[in-house]
Symmetry: C2
Subunit: 392 residues, 2 copies
């Protein structure tokens, strides 16, 4: 019987982290081994806090370190991953960060299973073929509307058929500034490309503040308004959805389990559900959300703002669907996140992205790059070292 | 202007942690200072992981360490605590464990504000007086129905008018075992006392498995069935609530923000909402849930399975209500959790509990006991010590 022999978490970081909405400035890589096979995953999470959740001493029967429910478990078939999921969620029910740790482990286990079966993950998930996706370039708003205009023109010149702007000053400098930003984005992009706007939960639970942007969003034919509110504010989302007309609401990246995303589908009135495989519980949970979205007439889209290893993991989930065609493509990766994989999922001449037809995720991180950005970390409890950066 | 000068987290633990559902085996205490005033709080959370969330390096603008949004902030009025809440939730949106860290900090800030105003926290929350509460003793099911019978008799002999059994073997040994356990609890307690049952989310999302216990729950006049399912499984809760008749559903301890608890009230059909002040975002978030519960005709009850410092914090939230009368009273505290406070909130001759009429929480932890159980912890990142157990 093949069992999980090791789980290693690697904390990587750019030399300096800036106070901007760029989630690719650090990374938490997961390496799992079982016999002679090895899998890689990535958590979209605070590296240090997630490492602590992997190795912390047990507090009680429902607050155990995540490693306790993974090490030594059987890994031969997809059902084994589902069983590990159940075990982690039961044994670490009161350990909040556990969902983020599980996410990267789950991705690594699917990659490992792909190595065993010599199949891409999407095939293990039951899909016969991987359909190409239409990537939208995910960009931060410029500091000024003119900066945003230039960014939009640049994205259009790269051939992206869809662009999303978010974060930066948006929502922080008043209504007129937001109107100017959206108009500038549309101007830079031209009329034929898809434009989306990401508000980064800036309006909390304030429906009226969000609603004041609806006119310009409609006039600029914005496809979706993403995260106007806190992920959990279902009623607030729903209230805005009744007034947003052709501008659909989108959200879900904050979901750290499939239930949260399912509730956004069921109760929040979203037209697009965006989950991050590196947060929601990995490929296993993301696939369950995809199934529920498909059954509910809601469009599934990945949320990815990190490396192309994470991007591959995200796309495996809905690669088998021809219908759910858009995908997020992180457009401003840090050097670390870009160099982490030796190849990248870039748009082809049709502006489309295709997954690698190789086992598992189809890509492994570059170990030399990992070594270069590795953050040396040690955690000592009662005189005993319970975590030390593992050897690569 | 009075500002927050320091936040210190102290990891305490029994010498040995057992793999049982007793959440009082370790503790995470929070000390906050502002000028010449000091406040104490407690997180109901994995100590090491929560410490990491306080001090971790920033990942990006929405994934900052919790301390970054608290240190140096103004603390003069209740509104200042609400402002700190907003700041933490915005700056640490992608740091999952942040809600648990915020919870203990929030409690400590209310305690500190009570020291400044020389008022109990419940008065700062707007209540004129603190009504006594009827405590139910919260006990683990015995290993056998006979053990449970003896525990129930003992609780009755101590004068408790209400007892809740949960966890232990319940839900893990088949239907007949669960029936025998519930019958034994009722037999031991006699007919006149309130009996509640806590399933500890054991049935996941399986309505039918839970429904098989409804007959015995009804026959034994069980007041509520707690946590039959995962906290996020709102539809599953709702489906069972339509069949449970006089046995109300209860839940909410897993909520780590007020939205989650509000959704259980709005969508899950619960009759009782139970939030843990040490997890949900402290007294601030718990009070918002109380207000929503009261407006919705749902009964609010604290979830408390740790020290009497945490118990005092929980009770401040709804002390001003005569109507919401039941409260959880942890009945099997570890030596650490029991000795942590020099006094305890024990039932009086009427079987009722009354808060201390003293500033803040009305109690501070015993520093000698803290020293005795303190767990020496060090976290080093890139050669720099970012956390070391603070001096008491």
């Amino acid at each position: 019987m093949r069992k999980i022999d090791s789980i290693d978490f690697f904390y990587l970081s750019m030399p300096q982290i800036f106070d901007i909405g760029d989630g690719s400035q650090d990374a938490l890589l997961v390496r799992v081994t079982a016999g002679d096979r090895l899998g890689w995953g990535e958590c979209e999470a605070s590296p240090l806090t997630t490492i602590a959740s992997l190795v912390c001493p047990m507090s009680h029967s429902a607050c155990k370190p995540v490693a306790a429910s993974v090490l030594g478990e059987r890994i031969e078939r997809p059902e084994d991953i589902a069983a590990i999921h159940r075990k982690v969620r039961q044994n670490s029910m009161d350990l909040l960060q556990a969902d983020h740790a599980l996410s990267g482990i789950d991705v690594a286990l699917w990659d490992l299973l792909g190595q065993i079966y010599e199949q891409p993950v999407y095939q293990l998930l039951g899909a016969e073929k991987a359909y190409p996706k239409l990537p939208y370039s995910s960009l931060l708003f410029g500091d000024t509307p003119h900066d945003t205009y230039l960014k939009a023109r640049h994205a259009a010149s790269l051939g992206f058929g869809a662009v999303k702007f978010g974060w930066g000053p948006f929502g922080h400098q008043g209504l007129q500034h937001d109107i100017d930003q959206i108009v500038a984005a549309r101007d830079g992009l031209g009329q034929d490309r898809i434009l989306c706007v990401d508000a980064g939960t800036v309006w909390g639970t304030d429906v009226e503040e969000a609603a004041r942007r609806l006119d310009v969003l409609k006039a600029c034919q914005v496809t979706w308004l993403e995260e106007p509110f806190h992920t959990h504010a279902l009623r607030t989302y729903h209230a805005l959805s009744l007034r947003s007309g052709p501008v659909k609401l989108a959200g879900g990246e904050g979901a750290h389990n499939e239930y949260m995303a399912q509730q956004m589908i069921d109760f929040a009135g979203v037209g697009f559900i965006q989950v991050d495989t590196g947060r929601i519980g990995g490929i296993t949970s993301a696939k369950r959300v995809f199934d529920h979205a498909q059954a509910s007439g809601v469009t599934f889209i990945n949320h990815t703002f990190t490396s192309h290893l994470a991007l591959s993991a995200s796309l495996q989930v809905f690669a088998g669907s021809e219908e759910h065609r858009l995908c997020e493509h992180p457009g401003q990766l840090s050097t670390l996140a870009y160099k982490l994989t030796p190849e990248h999922l870039e748009p082809d001449a049709n502006g489309e992205i295709r997954l690698w037809e190789r086992p598992g995720l189809g890509i492994a991180p570059d170990l030399d790059v990992m070594k270069q950005y590795l953050v040396d970390t040690t955690i000592t409890v009662s005189g005993k070292v319970i975590y030390r950066t593992p050897v690569l």
